[in-house]
């Protein structure tokens, strides 16, 4: 069925992404590719992987391939007030996604039981209309298979009984070294993810389009001012001061000589 589930899904599995914490390391994107290259929608084909080898002229725009999760980096604001925000972007498993309703074959569907949006690669005809209907660029087309592919919310991990309970989370969530990604049921107001969204004012991307994304983003926390006199944040200034009195370079012995040397080198 390419129509949306008749009653809105009560269980809404999804991700909460903390833009305050994300360090832009791309580990989530890489592990997403790693897991899914042999997962539900495998393979995640790459073309021209070594670049410069494509035969037809104009085709070589470098190596390219399918990724379900991509990390963008934005700069917000101007000058001293600007800040860099790393912004991972994957399927948001929307509640009213046009990517599903435009599909002529029923290959794109939203699961009633948990709200996950999937593509059936056995019935997809590769018309690409769903990728036009998705505002978030979550769908990527596989030229080799002739079908559309997208984030599966790691459906083959989160329900996988062969994995330890602790590992039944999406690959991107389990790999994030900074803990910026959270997985859970956003339909349950008492779940950890829902609480996080409430406490941190989690928000929707492009709310005006009314796709009602399940995934939420947590905004970067406000920038802290209040630096010390010498421009250092207060804590660092104290540490620097303490450091100076404890490790006075005039101290005798080998350590003293080394510290003196370090002091000279650093003062150049």
């Amino acid at each position: 069925m390419t129509s949306l589930p008749e009653s809105p899904c009560t269980k809404k599995l999804g991700l909460v992404i903390d833009l305050d914490i994300c360090v832009g390391c791309h580990a989530c994107a890489v592990n997403c590719k790693e897991w899914n290259a042999s997962g539900h929608s495998a393979p995640m084909t790459d073309w021209n992987p070594y670049s410069g080898t494509e035969k037809r002229a104009g085709e070589d725009a470098g190596a390219w391939g399918i990724w379900f999760n991509r990390v963008h980096t934005f700069e917000v604001g101007e000058g001293a007030d600007s800040r860099t925000v790393h912004f991972p972007r994957s399927c948001l498993h929307c509640e009213t996604p046009a990517c599903v309703t435009v599909c002529p074959t029923g290959a794109s569907y939203k699961r009633e039981e948990d709200g996950i949006v999937l593509v059936n690669s056995e019935t997809c005809i590769g018309c690409k209309l769903c990728s036009w209907a998705c505002p978030y660029g979550a769908r990527e087309y596989d030229h080799s298979d002739g079908v559309m592919k997208k984030c599966t919310l790691c459906i083959d991990r989160i329900y996988n009984e062969n994995l330890d309970e602790a590992d039944r989370v999406p690959a991107c969530v389990s790999t994030c070294p900074a803990g910026a990604r959270h997985f859970g049921d956003l339909g349950d107001p008492s779940s950890e993810v829902s609480t996080l969204v409430k406490d941190r004012s989690g928000y929707d991307l492009m709310p005006e389009l009314d796709y009602k994304p399940t995934n939420k983003y947590l905004p970067p926390r406000p920038k802290r001012d209040g630096n010390g006199e010498d421009g250092q944040p207060p804590l660092l200034a104290t540490l620097a001061h303490e450091g100076q009195s404890n490790n006075d370079p005039t101290t005798e012995g080998v350590t003293g000589a080394m510290l003196r040397w370090v002091d000279i080198m650093l003062s150049r």
């Binding site: 390419t2 129509s3 994107a29 670049s51 725009a61 470098g62 190596a63 390219w64 391939g65 990724w67 991509r70 990390v71 963008h72 980096t73 934005f74 700069e75 917000v76 604001g77 101007e78 860099t84 925000v85 912004f87 972007r89 046009a98 309703t101 435009v102 599909c103 002529p104 074959t105 029923g106 290959a107 019935t123 997809c124 005809i125 590769g126 018309c127 690409k128 209309l129 990728s131 036009w132 209907a133 505002p135 769908r139 990527e140 087309y141 596989d142 030229h143 298979d145 002739g146 079908v147 559309m148 928000y203 991307l205 492009m206 709310p207 005006e208 389009l209 009314d210 983003y217 905004p219």
Partner: protein, 317 residues
Amino acid sequence: MNPAFSVIFFTSSSGAGYGLLVFAGLLTAMGAFPEGSHVIVCAVGLAMILITVGLLSSTAHLGRPERAWRALSQWRSSWLSHEGVLAIVTFLPTGLFFLGQFSLEQPLLRWLGWGPITAIMALLTVYSTGQIYASLKTIRQWCTIHVVPGYILIGLLGGGLVMSFIGSIFALPTDEVYWAIVLLAIVTGILKWDYWRNIDSGTASTTTNTATGLGTQNDRIRLLDAPTTSQNFVMREMGFRIARRHARKLRQISITTLFLIPTLGALCAPLIDSQISMIAITTMSLVSGSVGTVVERWLFFAEAKHVVTLYYGSEAA
């Protein structure tokens, strides 16, 4: 949006085919031609060829053409599916209408209703083609009230031009067709002009602010690092954008070839006695109109900007 040649060709060719069916259906119902007239036989036959070739070419756009039949399955929810189903169902009255021109003895085939039914089905099919684009909220230049009437009117205009060409070949020109062309060209020209004015001046409600949720309305948000150093599928498919000055030139070309020349042709043709000159004029109008339709369709894609480009460095969609 990346202009896919197969889709441009499909909508242009099938659009004209359906327009031609509307003309054939209505002219027969109005009694402009006797039953079994060569003009109608040719028109309906040619329309079926234009439609079939167009539909076949549209399957070239698919990753899995052998599964194309599956596109009929979601007839309840998807405009693309509506289009497919209507296109196939329309072959039924069209076929009966066509056969009716030969078997004048057969009461079922002789029924005068087949022409108008064919015309209505043809209009519905083009209507759903337009709706495929007009229903996409992700593309401001498509999600306008101009798009569906644009598809229908340009289809009708193309059909009229083919009809006038066939009429001149058989030396059976009809004033109704010429007047219809003039009217259609003027109305469609105004519609397209308003469309272009609209997309040029309109502001998008979706911005980098709403796309990322970052900053306040006045904050500039710049893409510092794209997620890939090359061009991925989304950038190739949705990122295509034509330079403004090329767009302006191509708009002029399409206005001239699609609206001005056919209008002049349709105004001049009835004043001419010699059949050869008449054929020359209708041929010129037809060729010009076809070029104009393809240019218009190409622009329709090239000028369309998808909101996803906001994530890839464009500042407005």
